[in-house]
């Protein structure tokens, strides 16, 4: 029989996870009956060679979701959907089986597929470099002469954040606590990046010359380029700065709120 078993795949990337929405075809009465009676289940099988990932999930419903940690996938991901036997079937037959088999029946064991859809794949992109620490382009310094936080992105290879003494001391104390990294990122790094990004959009700036002398700008612009964000496009709205900073910091608002939720739970 021609294989009509197919599935629809929706990939929803979230900050901390990938959600794969599966909608398997359920118009084959025989297969659907076996699933309904508990003799078979739909199964999604996911493999990512780049991260050695392999996982599977079964469902008795044709529509279901599989959630995978965001840190587990990168690059090409192959998704297969099958109907697999969940009980040993001694006399399995399909009304549309190939005429060569006539009315023959088959012994099917647990784990054997009853239907296999053509595999699909998607590219699990990374929003940011998975290992580069953003702070390597940011230098936070104590500056007794400041009354409020100042940012200087023109002095060298890093964006320099100058904090008044008391704030610097408190920052240094707090940054060791992983529970509030999102909050600190929002309070200190986000405004500094915004300041620097607005500077990069200055109409009179010789961008090529500036990039040659300031490594942070080369690093940031190439990372944003990979995320399809053109910070220096003169036609872009100024909101591009906020968007770019949030992308680089991997959803700082969400992380801050999660930090706060956790703190309140404690």
């Amino acid at each position: 029989m021609p294989n009509g078993f197919d599935f629809r795949l929706d990939v929803l990337p979230e900050y901390k996870r990938w959600i794969l929405g599966i909608e398997a075809a359920d118009d084959d009465g025989t297969l659907a009956h076996h699933v309904r009676t508990g003799k078979a289940r739909y199964l999604v099988h996911v493999e990512c060679k780049r991260t050695y990932f392999r996982g599977a999930l079964t469902s008795d419903k044709p529509r279901f979701e599989m959630t995978i940690d965001g840190d587990s996938l990168f690059g090409l991901v192959e998704v297969s959907v099958l109907v697999v036997a969940t009980k040993d079937l001694d006399d399995y037959r399909h009304p549309n089986q190939h005429s060569d088999y006539r009315d023959g029946t088959f012994s099917v064991s647990i784990g054997e597929p009853l239907a296999v859809a053509v595999s699909q794949s998607f590219d699990a992109f990374l929003e940011a470099d998975p290992i580069l620490k953003l702070s390597s382009i940011i230098d936070i310094q104590r500056d007794d002469s400041q009354r409020v936080m100042q940012v200087d992105c023109t002095v060298g290879n890093r964006i320099v954040i100058k904090l008044p003494s008391a704030e610097f001391d408190r920052y240094r104390e707090l940054r060791a606590d992983p529970a509030i990294r999102g909050l600190l990122s929002n309070a200190v790094i986000l405004p500094a990046l915004l300041d620097a990004f607005f500077f990069l959009r200055s109409p009179n700036l010789d961008l090529d010359e500036f990039k040659a002398d300031h490594r942070w700008s080369r690093s940031v612009l190439s990372r944003l380029d990979r995320m399809d964000v053109d910070l220096t496009d003169p036609d872009a709205e100024s909101s591009v700065c906020l968007e770019a900073a949030q992308l680089l910091l991997r959803e700082p608002l969400r992380r801050s709120l999660e930090d706060l939720s956790e703190l309140f739970k404690q």
């Binding site: 780049r50 991260t51 392999r54 599977a56 840190d71 990168f74 647990i110 290992i131 620490k133 390597s136």
Partner: protein
Amino acid sequence: MSLEFLSREPADKLAHEIGKNLEVYRSGKTESLIRTSDCRVSRVDAVAAPDLLDTTGEPKSDSEASQLVFQWLSKLTPVQAADERLWVLLTHRTFAPYVHKRWGKGLERATQPEALVVDRWFFRGAGVATFVRNAISRLWWFGHLTYDNKRANPFELTDVLLSLQDIQVAFLERSLGRCRPLLRAVLETVQTHQEDLRKTPKSGDVIQEWAKEIRLYGGAYLLDAVPPERLAFVVRSKLRARLSTPAV
């Protein structure tokens, strides 16, 4: 303290110049190939690196080294652990003496020394074998794939995996090894039959044949869909059958 890594371009250049630097790899002075300005700070927190050499200056066993590296980088994610830039700096600089002691001797007798350097000092290639070839990444991945905190000794299966090199080659260098329930069943079976395997004259051949039979089984069944108890039974039965088959 944050772990450092080598930037992409210098890492590529280093790989390009393996032939030119073969003598450096033979001498073990690979740290001299790394410029500090080519290193970057990563977002991976790590304390001081463990010593992978024993008091006599010899490499610690793979099992001990695997535990040390995995515990040291326990927060590494699979995406980060698949990034060459980390491993290249660790093999060339952080653990240069260990890598030289563990793999450097092979350079003297290798017919293709460049290939050995690629395998052990770099992390190149799209195949699953890449993960378990790099001198340091293999130690981390062995730990990652076998660590089980529900056991009294969470590294019990790591020890089993590293007790026979054929197990690594037969299972971890193939896509089969990515199936965690299967890997667990295989290692628990080896653990049960460790003594039998030790007594078998050609245990390597037995493991290779056993792995082949499991691959054939995996061609007909979706291993991830087979209940763990049945999978364990199948894996066990196939090894017992192999062990009772006279060697040819």
